[in-house]
């Protein structure tokens, strides 16, 4: 079986009025079904840019990206984005309406079925209590969980998450991470997850792609990440290894 998402030799550039910035250069990787694929790298190495390109918001100036064998040319509901920003929920819709919105807009389900499914996913992220509230009355963590429920309710081919927990406090972040893993155990969805926290990458992912900065290039890929565990210290060891790898250049450069 071929990979769900196949990215080969992708170079992404931003054209501003005065310069052309190369964000990533000749990046290749592939994501299989039910992977928890993590993009890890220092700030500015082009993680968000890569994710936006997979989302269809940017066209690569070199290379190809395919999902299910089809080339990615524009945004589509087969790839649901979950952003870091808290303002990704539509403020004029309640939690329930927000989760139903993409289901209705893409005509995936009729109104009745959409509501049933939306309620089921809201329950999964334990937000049934606020199902009729407007987003501005929710805490940051709750908003992110609604966004996750909204993305998952679409049951897309792949979920694209750009540092969804980065703006949360440490405690809420832990809860959200555990909840995401719990959800994955239930439905085994495919997710591509961007983070700059090594610990979060190890906790969430089963595969980690390490990127080097300016321009972003693939430095290494870590596989079988789910074999390490926090109890016997293997997770801590991996964290140290990845840390040394990522900061090797900066250490020698100075």
């Amino acid at each position: 079986m071929s990979a769900l998402l196949d990215v080969s030799g992708v170079t992404l550039r931003y054209k501003t009025s005065s310069v052309v910035v190369t964000a990533t250069e000749k990046v290749s990787f592939s994501v299989d079904r039910s992977d928890r694929f993590v993009l890890l790298g220092p700030s500015g190495c082009g993680k968000s840019t890569l994710l936006k390109a997979v989302g269809g918001y940017m066209t690569p100036s070199e290379g190809k990206m395919r999902i299910n064998g089809r080339e990615i040319t524009e945004p589509g509901a087969d790839r649901m984005m979950i952003f870091q920003e808290f303002d990704q929920l539509l403020p004029w819709k309640t939690v329930l309406e927000n989760v139903m919105f993409p289901l209705l807009m893409t005509r995936k389900l009729n109104k009745k079925d959409a509501e049933v499914r939306a309620r089921a996913y809201i329950e999964k992220v334990s937000l049934t209590r606020v199902v009729d509230s407007y987003p501005h009355t929710l805490s940051g963590g709750m908003k992110q969980r609604v966004a996750i429920a909204r993305g998952m309710a679409m049951e897309p081919d792949i979920l694209l998450m750009d540092e969804p927990f980065a703006a949360l406090d440490a405690l809420t972040r832990r809860t959200c991470q555990d909840e995401l893993l719990q959800l994955w155990e239930e439905t085994k969805f495919t997710v591509m997850f961007v983070t700059h926290s090594i610990a979060e990458a190890i906790k969430i992912g089963n595969r980690i792609l390490l990127l080097s900065p300016h321009p972003g290039r693939v430095k290494a890929e870590v596989i079988d990440v789910d074999r390490v565990s926090a109890e016997d210290g293997s997770a801590a060891k991996l964290e140290k290894q990845i840390h040394d790898l990522l900061f090797a250049d900066t250490a020698t450069a100075h």
């Binding site: 539509l90 004029w92 407007y134």
Partner: protein
């Protein structure tokens, strides 16, 4: 050797807290005073009292009739049907101009967000015409459309179109990039994208534009009617004011002015406030 200890406190589990301590009901006076409408009504009552006192002291109903004279005249004119008829005539024209202006503004802004030349067009046009008082176009309108509703509607469109288009466009431009990306993620584009994402997201600015447009239109209309006003035998409120001034029926002039103010207040405080409460305030886009 230091070692931290955890002391359990039972405050949080003490159970049945008196609910009145968490949530206290406000008294009647406090409740009323918290209602902006009540506070504004109190101000209006105060102003009416000042008016009455000044009118009585002056004692010259040709210059400045008292409040109660004005109100009595107003009631008479309402009862015999003059004021409702005149107000209706004005509102009918206003409604035509207002809705035509909004339709045009919608067209212009949709054009402006879909093409770059459309943006330039809208920005140039609003920069040119927004500062131009609508009433200044009236002489020209009279030549083009003659004495009648056509001229009125023309100046009304001018007074509504630019503020509404300007506010809507700047509202669209300030919709956050995240929301735009969310909308496109669901495959929305073209008009559905405008209707489902941009308009609700920019609703605060759009409403501001509609309010400004309404205020401009109402003023412009009354002023324009003062200049000519009779069309097909049925003048509006502005004409009513002008007519009664010529008859030296000053209380009626005041009654006409008061009607203009009252209609303005009703639209502003009832219609727009209600829309605001049920949209931007409910969504937390405005406090």
């Amino acid at each position: 050797m230091g070692e931290a200890r955890i002391l359990m406190r039972s405050d949080a589990v003490a159970g049945a807290v008196d609910p009145s301590e968490v949530e206290r009901k406000l008294g009647v006076v406090e409740l009323l005073w918290n209602d902006g409408f009540v506070r504004k009504a109190a101000i209006i009552v105060f102003l009416a009292a000042v008016w009455e006192i000044y009118g009585t002291l002056l004692d010259n109903s040709l210059l400045f009739p008292t409040f109660h004279d004005t109100v009595i005249t107003m009631f008479d004119k309402v009862r015999d049907g003059t004021i409702p008829l005149r107000a209706w005539a004005s509102l009918k024209v206003l409604f035509m101009g207002y809705s035509a202006g909004i339709v045009l503004a919608a067209l212009f802004t949709v054009l402006a967000i879909s093409t770059r030349i459309g943006t330039d067009f809208l920005e140039t046009m609003t920069a040119m015409f927004n500062p131009l008082p609508a009433i200044a176009l009236l002489p020209l309108a009279l030549i083009w459309f003659g004495l009648g509703n056509g001229s009125l509607v023309f100046v009304l469109i001018h007074s509504v179109l630019w503020p509404v288009a300007l506010n809507t466009h700047s509202g669209f431009k300030s919709v956050s990039n995240t929301l735009r990306m969310v909308g496109r993620n669901y495959g929305l584009r073209g008009l559905p994208y405008v209707a489902r994402i941009l308009i609700p997201a920019a609703f605060g600015s759009i409403l501001t534009g509609l309010k400004i447009g309404w205020a401009f239109a109402w003023r412009t209309l009354i002023a324009a009617e003062l200049v000519f006003g009779v069309s097909s035998g049925q003048g509006g409120l502005g004409w009513f004011i002008f007519e009664n001034r010529n008859l030296l029926d000053i209380p009626a002039v005041f009654a006409g002015l008061l009607t203009v103010i009252v209609i303005g207040l009703i639209v502003e405080n009832l219609i727009f406030r209600t829309i605001e409460r049920n949209t931007v305030q409910k969504w937390g886009l405005q406090t």
